[in-house]
C-alpha cells in the first residue's frame, strides 16, 4: 500500500478529467487510483505537484478532497497465454470476467487481472539448460489454442544463461525458467510479461512489406492490396461499410493473429464478432476464427478516456505476437473516436486547440501509432521475422475527407480505401471507389502475387483498371450527349466495365460463398469477365451486332461465377470456352 505522504488529493473534477495535488512522487503516464472507489486513471500532465489525470471510468459522485493513490507504474498490459479469444475493455480488463462478477452492466472500480491467474498451461521447453539466451529468444511454447502456439520469449532487457528450465503445467505467474545474467544475478522468468502500452516494443530491423496480405475481398486483393506489415485506412461516412470491411478482414485476411479494436463504436458490433467468430471456420485450418483473435471493446457507451487507451492496448498486444514471429493484423474501428477522445481531454486541459478543436499533436500521435506497424526482424537470435499490419477505419463528420483525422492518417498510411456513399446507397459493396483509392504496395507485392498465381492475373488487373478509367471518361460523354454519341466499341467497353463492377468488384459479405474469394478464384473470375470483352471486341470488328453480343446466354454464367464454391473454382475456366463457342456460333449466323 501507499505511504500516506504519497497520497494526493483531488482539486477538480470535470468529466473524465481530474486534477489532484500532492502528486510529487508520480511521473507522467503513471497509473493512479482515484478516490476510495479506486477508479483507474492515468497522469497526462504534471505541473509542480499537481497532476492532470484522465480517468478511465465514470467520475460521477467524485469530488475535491478525495484521495488519489499513486501506483508508480505506467499504464501497461499483461502479455502471456490467455490473450487469445479474450475480450478486453480499453485498459485490458476482461469483459467476460466483469460480466461474471457484476452482471450485465459495467460498474466502477473493478479490478480483475487480464490473464487468468489460476489457469494452468502446458509449457513445452525449447531451450535447454546451459544455453545462452538473449531477449526475444524462445524458451518454450504453449499450445494456447488450436491455431496459436504461444511462444514464451525471454523478456526485453534480459540476457544470460539458462540455469533452470521447467516442463509441464504452469500458471502465468509460475517460474518456468531461471536465467543467470552476466553480473551473476538469477532472474526468474514467468510466462507473463508486462509492457507499457505507450512504448513500442523493440525489434531489430524493419523491412519494407513485400508479401501480399490476401483478404479474400476482390477489390482489395486485385486493385488495392495491402502488404504484410503495411498500413491502410478506410475512411467513409456512416453506413458506407467501414465496419463490415474491418470485420471481413478480421475474418478472412491470411494473418496468423488478429487483434480487433472496437474503439468508441457500437456494442452490438462487438457482440456480433463474439457470436460469429467462434462459428466461422478458417479456410486453411478449418478451426474457428476466434482461436486466432483478441478483441478489445471500448464501445461508445463506455468511458471516453479508455477509448484513447484502447488503441494502444491493442497495438501492444499485437506487437507482442509479432515478436513471436507471427504475421499479425490489427483493425481499429474507429480511429476517429480515439482522436475525439484526445480532443475532449485536450479541451478540458484547456490546451491550445488546432484544427477543428483537435490538439496540435494529433498528427504526431496518429503517425506514431501507424509507425508501430511493420515487417520486422524480431529480437532474439534466430532472425525470425514478424509482421504487424494495421488497418484503421476513419469516420469523418459528414464523410468529408478534409477532416483533420483523415488528412493526418493519409499522410502516413500507404493504402487508402475510399468509401463512397453513392455506391453504398446502390448497395454496391464493398463501396470502395475503384478510381479514388490507392495502394502504394501494388508494385512491391507484385512478385508475391506472381508467385502465387502467375503473371496473367497481374496483367488482367491492369487491363481492368484501364477499362474502368476509360469508362469514367465515356460516362462523362454519355452524361453530356447521350449514349448515341458512343460507337459500338465504346458501348462494349461500357458493358465490360459494368460487368467488372457488378460481377467482379461487387461482393456480398453476407453471402456464404461470395463473402470470401481466394486469389485463384479471383483470377479466374476476372479472366472470364475480360475474356468476354476481348472476344466480343474481336467479334464486333468482324461485323457482329452489339445487341447480339450483349444478349449472349453465357453472360449469365459470368454473373454467377461468384457463387461457385472454392472447390469448384476450376469450372469458372469452362465459362471462357463457352464464351468462345457462343460467339463463334453468332458468327456463323452472321455469315449465313
Amino acid at each position: 500500500m501507499n505511504r500516506t505522504e504519497d497520497i494526493g488529493r483531488i482539486l477538480k473534477v470535470s468529466g473524465p478529467l481530474v486534477v489532484a495535488e500532492g502528486m510529487g512522487t508520480s511521473r507522467m503516464y503513471d497509473v493512479v487510483k482515484v478516490s476510495e472507489k479506486r477508479l483507474v486513471g492515468e497522469i497526462i500532465g504534471i505541473e509542480g505537484d499537481k497532476a492532470s489525470i484522465q480517468v478511465y471510468e465514470d467520475t460521477g459522485g467524485i469530488g475535491p478532497g478525495e484521495p488519489v493513490y499513486p501506483t508508480h507504474e505506467p499504464l501497461s498490459v499483461e502479455l502471456g497465454p490467455g490473450l487469445v479469444e479474450a475480450i478486453y475493455d480499453g485498459i485490458q480488463r476482461p469483459l467476460s470476467d466483469i460480466a461474471a462478477k457484476t452482471g450485465s452492466f459495467i460498474t466502477r472500480g473493478i479490478e480483475i487481472p487480464a490473464l487468468p491467474r489460476d489457469k494452468k498451461w502446458n509449457f513445452v521447453p525449447q531451450a535447454k539448460k546451459g544455453q545462452k539466451v538473449t531477449a526475444g529468444d524462445i524458451l518454450g511454447t504453449v499450445a494456447e489454442t488450436a491455431l496459436i502456439e504461444h511462444r514464451i520469449m525471454v523478456p526485453p532487457g534480459i540476457e544470460g544463461e539458462i540455469v533452470e528450465i521447467g516442463k509441464g503445467s504452469f500458471t502465468v505467474e509460475d517460474t518456468v525458467a531461471v536465467i543467470k545474467t552476466a553480473d551473476g544475478k538469477k532472474v526468474n522468468i514467468i510466462m507473463m510479461q508486462r509492457w507499457p502500452v505507450r512504448k513500442p516494443r523493440p525489434y531489430k530491423r524493419k523491412y519494407a512489406p513485400h508479401e501480399i496480405l490476401t483478404t479474400g475481398q476482390r477489390i482489395i486483393d486485385t486493385f488495392y492490396p495491402l502488404g504484410k506489415g503495411g498500413t491502410a485506412c478506410v475512411p467513409g461516412p456512416f453506413g458506407s461499410g467501414k465496419t463490415v470491411i474491418q470485420h471481413q478482414l478480421a475474418k478472412w485476411a491470411d494473418a496468423e493473429v488478429i487483434v480487433y479494436v472496437g474503439c468508441g463504436e457500437r456494442g452490438n458490433e462487438m457482440t456480433d464478432v463474439l457470436i460469429e467468430f467462434p462459428e466461422l471456420k478458417d479456410p486453411k485450418s478449418g478451426e474457428p476464427m476466434m482461436k486466432r483473435t483478441v478483441l478489445i471493446a471500448n464501445t461508445s457507451n463506455m468511458p471516453v478516456a479508455a477509448r484513447e487507451a484502447s488503441v494502444y492496448t491493442g497495438v501492444t498486444i499485437a506487437e507482442y505476437f509479432r515478436d513471436m514471429g507471427y504475421s499479425v493484423a490489427l483493425m481499429a474501428d474507429s480511429t476517429s473516436r480515439w482522436a475525439e477522445a484526445m480532443r475532449e481531454i485536450s479541451g478540458r486541459l484547456e490546451e491550445m486547440p488546432g484544427e477543428e478543436g483537435y490538439p496540435a499533436y494529433l498528427s504526431a500521435r496518429i503517425a506514431e501509432f501507424y509507425e508501430r506497424a511493420g515487417l520486422v526482424e524480431c529480437i532474439g537470435s534466430d532472425d525470425r521475422r514478424g509482421a504487424l499490419s494495421v488497418i484503421g477505419a476513419v469516420s469523418p463528420p459528414g464523410g468529408d475527407l478534409s477532416d483533420p483525422v483523415v488528412q493526418a492518417t493519409l499522410r502516413v498510411v500507404k493504402v487508402f480505401w475510399s468509401l463512397e456513399d453513392t455506391l453504398a446507397y446502390a448497395r454496391h459493396f464493398p463501396a470502395i471507389s475503384w478510381l479514388r483509392s490507392y495502394s502504394l504496395y501494388t508494385d512491391s507485392v507484385a512478385e508475391s502475387v506472381r508467385e502465387a498465381i502467375g503473371d496473367k492475373f497481374l496483367a488482367d488487373s491492369k487491363e481492368a483498371m484501364r477499362l474502368l478509367q476509360e469508362e469514367d471518361e465515356l460516362k462523362e460523354i454519355v452524361r453530356l450527349i447521350g449514349l448515341d454519341a458512343l460507337s459500338p466499341k465504346e458501348r462494349l467497353i461500357m458493358e465490360a466495365t459494368r460487368s467488372i463492377r457488378e460481377d467482379f468488384l461487387h461482393q456480398n459479405a453476407f453471402h456464404e460463398i461470395d463473402t470470401y474469394a481466394s486469389l485463384q478464384k479471383q483470377a479466374k473470375m476476372l479472366s472470364a469477365v475480360l475474356k468476354y470483352y476481348r472476344e466480343a471486341q474481336k467479334a464486333l470488328d468482324a461485323g457482329a451486332s452489339l445487341d447480339d453480343l450483349l444478349n449472349l446466354k453465357v453472360r449469365e454464367k459470368i454473373v454467377r461465377a461468384r457463387y461457385m464454391r472454392e472447390a469448384d473454382r476450376e469450372k469458372i475456366a469452362e465459362i471462357e470456352e463457352e464464351i468462345v463457342s457462343e460467339i463463334a456460333s453468332l458468327k456463323k449466323e452472321v455469315s449465313q
Partner: protein, 499 residues
C-alpha cells in the same frame, strides 16, 4: 480574487422532496445538509457557487428562489471550493445573495415500478398527471450504467411493422436503434405512430410497452401521440415523459435519460419488450449546445460541443437486448434535420451511433408518396441476421439486394432522362426507369393505415422485379429465381391472359 462569501448552515428542511430519500443511499448530507447562499455568478443556465465543501461531480442540486420556487440542477464541474451548476429550469429570477443552493449528495434519480405504465411525467420524471405520486420499488440514477458488450444478446428477432420499405428493405429487429431522419413539416410523427401501432413479432403474443420521451415538441404533437396510443389501447402500456416546447429547455437534457431509466427497468427487470420513441433529438442537442456555449467550451461543428457523439451514444446505446433477460429495448429516435441536411452534426453523429436510419424525403412527400421514405440512403444494419428462412422468408436477402440495385439503376436512368430526354435512354434503361416509378408508387407508398404482412411485401417485390429481364437479376440465387421470379412472372402472365 474571489469575493468573500457567507456560508449559512441550515438545519434540514422538515419535508424533504421525497420521503424515500433516506433509503436511497447513505449520504454525508443527511446529518447536516448545507445550504449555500454563495452564488457568485449566473450565466445563461449556469450558476457558479463558491465556498462549497464536499460537492461531487454530477451531484443533484436544489435551488431555492426567494419567491419560494424550487428548481433543480446538476453539478457540471467542481474545482476546489467552486461548483458549476446547470439549472434545468433556467436561471431567470435567480438573485445572487438571495437564492439558496443545496447539494443533495446523490445523482439524479427517478423512482421506478411497474406502476409507471399508464402514467404521464414531466421531462425530469415528476408526475404530470393529476394522480398520486408513484410508489417506487426502487430509485435509479438516470445516467444508468454501460451495458457490457459481452453481456449483450445480438438483436435478431424480426419486427413486422407492416410498412414495406421497413420490413422488406430496412428490416427492424427487437433491440435495434433505428432513427427517423426527417425535416420540419414531414410526416415523421405519423410514421412513428404507425410503427408503434403495427409493430409485432410474428408468433409472439406479448405486445410492446411504449416509453415515450418528448423533448421540446409542441403540445399538439404530443397530443397526437397520446390520442393515437389511447385509440389503440396502447396508452395503458405506455409511460410518457413530456418536456414540451414551453417547458424549460435545459430539462430536456435529462428527459431521454429519464425515459431510458424507465425503459431499462421495464425491459431488464420486468421483462417487457419496450419500444422507446424519443422526439425530437434536435431540440435535445440544442439544449446541450446552449450549455456548452454558456461554459465557453471550444465549439465543434456548427457550435455543437465536441462531445456530442459521446453524449448521444450514452443515450442511444442503452437500447438492446441482454443475455439472460427476456425483455428488450427497441429505440426509434426522431430528429428533424436542419435544412434537410443529412451531414448536419445531429443526423450525422446519430447515424454513426444508431443501427441504421430511415430518411424521409421532402420531394417524395410532395409527390404524395406515403410514407415518403428515401429508400437509397436508408439503412438497417441489423437486418441481415433478422431475416431469411425461419424469420421472414428464404428469398428476403436476395430480394432486397436486387430491389436496391434495380431502384438505384432506375434512379440513375431517371436522372439521365431529365438531362437528355427519355429518348436518349437504351431500352433496358427505360425498363429500369419504369421499374423505379412503379416501385415508388406501389412499394414505398402504402398509406398510413395499410398494414402489410411480410409475405405481401416480399411478393410485391417480386412482382415489381418481373418488370425487368431475368438476366438482370444478378443478386439473386438460381433457386430463388426459379422459385420466385419465374413463378411470379408466370402467374402475372396468366392473370393478364385471363383479363
Amino acid at each position: 480574487m474571489t469575493p468573500h462569501n457567507t456560508r449559512t448552515r441550515n438545519t434540514p428542511r422538515s419535508t424533504p422532496l421525497n420521503a424515500k430519500k433516506a433509503s436511497v443511499k447513505g449520504s454525508r448530507k443527511l446529518q447536516g445538509i448545507i445550504d449555500y447562499q454563495t452564488i457568485s455568478s449566473v450565466s445563461g443556465p449556469l450558476l457558479l457557487v463558491e465556498g462549497v465543501d464536499g460537492v461531487k461531480y454530477e451531484e443533484l442540486v436544489e435551488i431555492f428562489l426567494p419567491s419560494g420556487e424550487r428548481r433543480r440542477g446538476r453539478v457540471l464541474e467542481v474545482d476546489k471550493d467552486k461548483a458549476l451548476i446547470q439549472i434545468f429550469e433556467g436561471s431567470s429570477g435567480i438573485e445572487i445573495g438571495q437564492t439558496r443552493v443545496r447539494f443533495l449528495g446523490k445523482g439524479i434519480t427517478i423512482g421506478v415500478s411497474e406502476e409507471l405504465l399508464g402514467r404521464v411525467f414531466d421531462g425530469l420524471g415528476r408526475p404530470r398527471d393529476d394522480s398520486l405520486p408513484l410508489i417506487p420499488e426502487e430509485f435509479r440514477d438516470i445516467n444508468g450504467l454501460p451495458i457490457n458488450p459481452f453481456a449483450r444478446a445480438y438483436p435478431n428477432e424480426f419486427i413486422q411493422t407492416g410498412i414495406s420499405c421497413i420490413d422488406g428493405l430496412n428490416t427492424l429487429v427487437r433491440g435495434q436503434k433505428l432513427p427517423l431522419f426527417s425535416g420540419s413539416g414531414l410526416p415523421h410523427n405519423r410514421m412513428a405512430a404507425q410503427i408503434a401501432r403495427q409493430a409485432k413479432v410474428l408468433g409472439a403474443e406479448e405486445e410492446f410497452a411504449v416509453v415515450f420521451g418528448a423533448m421540446g415538441i409542441t403540445f399538439e404533437e404530443a397530443q397526437f401521440f397520446i390520442d393515437d396510443f389511447r385509440r389503440t389501447g396502447a396508452l395503458e402500456r405506455a409511460v410518457l415523459f413530456l418536456n414540451l416546447a414551453d417547458d424549460p429547455a435545459i430539462e430536456r437534457i435529462a428527459t431521454p435519460r429519464v425515459a431510458f431509466t424507465a425503459a431499462e427497468y421495464l425491459a431488464f427487470t420486468r421483462n417487457y419488450h419496450v419500444l422507446v420513441i424519443l422526439t425530437d433529438l434536435t431540440n435535445y442537442c440544442e439544449a446541450l449546445r446552449e450549455i456548452s456555449a454558456a461554459r465557453k467550451e471550444i465549439p465543434g461543428r456548427r457550435g455543437y460541443p465536441g462531445y456530442l457523439y459521446t453524449d448521444l451514444a450514452s443515450i442511444y446505446e442503452r437500447s438492446g437486448r441482454i443475455k439472460g433477460s427476456e425483455g428488450s429495448i427497441t429505440l426509434i429516435p426522431i430528429l428533424t434535420m436542419p435544412e434537410d441536411d443529412k451531414t448536419h452534426p445531429i443526423p450525422d453523429l446519430t447515424g454513426y451511433i444508431t443501427e441504421g436510419q430511415i430518411i424521409l424525403s421532402r420531394s417524395l412527400h410532395n409527390k404524395n408518396v406515403s410514407p415518403p421514405v428515401d429508400v437509397l440512403p436508408s439503412l438497417s444494419r441489423l437486418k441481415d441476421k433478422g431475416i431469411g428462412k425461419g424469420k421472414t422468408r428464404e428469398d428476403h436477402a436476395d430480394s432486397f439486394n436486387q430491389l436496391y440495385a434495380a431502384y438505384a439503376r432506375g434512379k440513375e436512368a431517371q436522372e439521365l432522362a431529365v438531362i437528355l430526354g427519355e429518348a436518349a435512354l437504351t431500352d433496358i434503361d427505360k425498363k429500369f426507369m419504369s421499374f423505379a416509378e412503379a416501385f415508388e408508387a406501389r412499394y414505398v407508398s402504402q398509406g398510413e393505415y395499410e398494414d402489410r404482412t411480410i409475405e405481401e411485401t416480399l411478393d410485391l417485390g417480386w412482382e415489381l422485379l418481373t418488370m425487368l429481364p431475368r438476366a438482370e437479376m444478378k443478386r439473386v440465387r438460381d433457386e430463388y429465381l426459379e422459385k420466385y421470379y419465374d413463378k411470379t412472372a408466370a402467374k402475372l402472365k396468366k392473370e393478364e391472359e385471363n383479363a
